[in-house]
Amino acid sequence: MSMELRILAAPREQQALLDLPWDMPLEQWPEWYLVALPRGISRHVVRFTRLGGNVYALKEIVKPYADREYQMLRDLARLDVPAVQAVGVVSGREAPGGESLDSVLVTRHLQFSLPYRALFARMMRRDTVDRLIDALVVLIARLHLTGFYWGDCSLSNTLFRRDAGAFAAYLVDAETGELHNGLSDGQRAHDLDTARTNIAGEMMDLLAAGQLDESVDPIGVSDQVVERYEALWTELTEWEAFDVNERWRIARRVDRLNELGFDVDELDIVTDIGGRTIRVQPKVVDPGHHSRRLLRLTGIDAQENQARRLLNDLDTYAAVTEQQGEDEEIVANAWVMDSYEPVLRAIPRDLRGKLEGPEIFHEVLEHRWYLSENLGRDIGLEEAARDYADTVLRHKPDELAILGGTSAEADTTQPFRITWSDLQ
């Protein structure tokens, strides 16, 4: 019985995908199809390929799992969760000899993303570890708010993007995930317990490999994951009670959530019968407070901290140009023309693949601050941008498409998955 090759994907990408040698196991694909050797932890064969300017990750996996993960990633995208984007599933593959081959799940590689192993390629400092953990904790909390149980949370199953000195985390592997209406305390606790074990293991391995500063304590770091998660979760979901005279605390709760990057769309407020005590609980919180505001005002798509940074600069701009009373959108438009775009234009084209636009702008702001302090005078943004490009950006690695890892032989340098079939 001959099967039909089926490519489930958007038409534009279907065309490009058609040209790949699907009648061959991924493992045997000739190198000219591939952009790099497989990196990162996976229990399946994973390869990267470049088509029409985009990099795609291909994962060979049994069909029900490919279909399920494809659907899951689509659902997560619909829910606006930071995750890699599913492009399609190729099924019904057959080798020339007639034997059937597993399906392939195709995802688009996340531009400017970094696997944690790439971040550790040079010795990693304590504060970098803290920032990675913070990003991961925000991701887990966001997933849990949407009812997603990860099942296998780890640094390996996450990609990081720079975010104005911090990181933003993206989910890469949804194979073990489940989407529920809401999560039970047990599911959250178990997810966190898995995360904690995996992260400690990954850190211990880095330590054993000499890639982690000796001052970093893997167990301390993994404890931190739990503590920070609990603190964030409490802020996001707990009831808070206070006296009727302390109503300002409602506004403060909202401010704190905004500060953490969450919008409060719905707040439940209950007054007791005597009317002396007010209890509030955020009902619907939406992450991306600053990045949404920046996008609305300027059309710039940025990570949360980058957006915060850019908005601060926008506020400063409004004050300096005495436009505080003006319509927000008009000022924002002027700021893009006067500040943001000139900075990016000042960066030579060949250096623009090193970092994302908003990240470059953030770094230029930092650079201007240091430069002005050293010179004892305030230097202009464009001058700072040119100096930054020459003295800093030029020496950074290109991060547009880093696929991670440090060695061709993944088995010897990175954690690897073993499956039951190995028992044979």
Binding site: I41, R43, I61, V62, P64, Y65, D102, Y149, D152, S154, S156, N181, G182, S184, D185, G186, Q187, A189, H190, D193, R196, T197, N198, A200, G201, E202, M204, D205, L206, A208, A209, I219, S222, D411, T412, T413, Q414, P415, F416, R417, I418, T419, W420, S421, D422, L423, Q424
Partner: protein, 373 residues
């Protein structure tokens, strides 16, 4: 190690009135390998997750040994979810790979060394403890991963469809490996699968669930020989049992010209429930080819012959004068019979089958429950 008890454990998902798991009563013995099996949505995974602490329990209780764990957080339950796969860390020794989770849990160094040593002995890994995973074979690596779960010395192992991402051939050979490892370890294990063959080959006992209700729990052979209702009869066994509704009259069950003598006790039980029909089940191996003249048989037109070497199965449909009525009253759209592989019929042939006396299963048409002669 410990027993596991579900005591009228119930889970009702918010926004639904029908329980996903309905008053489950199940006592699992110390060291037992118990398999939960059933079609999708039957409540098997939910039951396992209730035991793991991932699902809330809305009614009843769950106990591990004498401890009531109904509302206990997962990590305090002394259970280990055995994953489909574990990560192994290449720069860490086998001993560290096995023991690092204990370090996180704050277990003392001496205690970790003892537990890792014990587990390594059990898994034949004692001489590899100082090596890196790279130096091990695939099977040894998998045992290191198992070691990670074992050193926690859990009371219970939980496995949720651990073989589902393997292809069919690997699944068959791996299930024996897991079962034999479990027997060697002697740790009480609850295993979930949708595959009744997997359930039958692995479990000491198998619990069959359907629509949130426990249908039967018994040894694999017990389920096969004495299914307690029509659902279990149809679900357990591959190929499936032939099941049809027969008329009961004068100590005989008839369907068209098919005619089977039935015990007097069955006749009276059918009469007692005010009925004149009975559900009759017969496994493929209970059908015997008979000569065309022999009365009481079911003429079957052969559609497909499945040759397995050791066995052959005939898939066909009723083809006698009462074919239409017989086909209507059959639970599936075909009749399946095991035949001599050296003497198998051809597609398109017509064969007269009779049911081997005494091998029939009887079920009430009213309740679906088994009727014992």
């Amino acid at each position: 190690m410990a027993t596991v008890t579900f005591d009228k454990a119930t889970r009702i998902y918010p926004g639904t009135d029908k329980p996903a798991v309905d008053a489950l009563d199940l006592a699992i013995e110390d060291g037992e390998f118990l398999v939960l099996v059933g079609p999708s949505g039957c409540g098997k995974s939910t039951s396992l997750r209730m035991l793991a602490g991932l699902e809330e329990v809305d009614g009843g209780a769950i106990r591990i040994g004498d401890r009531d764990v109904t509302h206990m957080p997962p990590k305090d339950r002394d259970i280990a979810m055995v994953f489909q796969n574990y990560a192994l860390y290449p720069h860490m020794t086998v001993a560290d790979n096995m023991g690092f989770a204990l370090k996180i849990a704050g277990v003392s160094k001496d205690e970790i060394r003892r537990r890792v040593g014990d587990a390594a002995k059990l898994l034949d890994l004692a001489e590899y403890l100082d090596r890196k995973p790279k130096a091990l074979s695939g099977g040894q690596r998998q045992r290191v991963a198992m070691g990670r779960a074992i050193v926690r010395e859990p009371q219970v192992f939980l496995m949720d469809e651990p073989l589902s991402n393997l292809d069919a051939k690997l699944r068959v050979s791996t299930r024996t490996q897991i079962a034999s490892l479990q027997r060697r370890l002697g740790i009480t294990t609850v295993y979930v699968t949708h595959d009744q063959v997997e359930a039958m080959t692995m479990g000491d006992r198998v619990a069959v669930l359907n629509a949130g209700l426990l249908q039967q729990v018994d040894s694999p052979l017990g389920l096969y020989d004495k299914p307690s209702n029509v659902f279990v009869a149809g679900f357990i066994g591959s190929p499936a049992m032939n099941i049809a509704t027969f008329d009961v009259k004068d100590g005989r069950a008839t369907l068209g010209n098919a005619d089977v003598a039935i015990p007097a006790s069955i006749s009276s039980k059918v009469a007692a429930e005010g009925s004149d029909t009975v559900v009759l089940g017969f496994r493929p191996e209970s059908l015997l080819p008979a000569s065309a003249e022999e009365t009481g048989g079911i003429p079957v037109l052969v559609d497909v012959v499945e040759e397995l070497g050791s066995d052959a199965y005939v898939y066909g449909r009723p083809a006698g004068p009462a074919a239409e009525e017989q086909a209507d009253r059959l639970r599936s759209d075909q009749i399946i019979a095991r035949v001599e592989p050296r003497n198998a019929p051809q597609k398109g042939e017509k064969i007269n089958f009779t049911v081997r006396p005494g091998s029939e299963h009887f079920f009430s048409v009213k309740t679906g429950e088994r009727l014992e002669p």
